[in-house]
Symmetry: C2
Subunit: 87 residues, 2 copies
């Protein structure tokens, strides 16, 4: 499946969160990652993020899609993810 992950972590944990998320997804913008992921890895990603997050301060939203057939992606301005952001 395809996943878009957006997170908002307190500054002291933000580096850790990004490090975990980058193992599974491509970084495309400050606090946004995306990519194809297996169900097993999606589960692992969630577990790893849960293990470091403070649920009273930090926030994560996952948007998951079975298909990309109906989706379009449009970027304006600076492309922050570099070469990594091609989907």
């Amino acid at each position: 499946m395809f996943v878009i992950l957006v997170y908002d972590f307190a500054e002291k944990r933000v580096g850790k969160a990004l490090k975990i998320a980058r193992k599974y997804l491509h970084w495309v913008q400050n606090s946004v990652l995306e990519g194809e992921i297996s169900n097993a890895n999606y589960y692992k990603l969630k577990m790893e993020l849960k293990s470091i997050m403070n649920p009273e301060e930090d926030s994560i939203i996952f948007y998951t899609f079975r298909t990309q057939k109906y989706s379009k992606r449009e970027e304006l301005g600076l492309k922050k993810g570099g070469d990594e952001n091609i989907i």
Copy 2:
């Protein structure tokens, strides 16, 4: 259509960007908004954001979907958008 908007603006423009985006979409997380939008309003939203953004410093990604049939949304931790974030 349904839109997810993620933006990363330089601090001096971030308030303006949020103000524009909130006219059309629901704020769900720091720098993330989403919602149903007409083609006409999607165009207006893009024009308004373009008019204030510096394309060498600021970044926007729009994910647009004709349908939500194949999408799922999962949140962990703090729900930052308050009551407004129900889709």
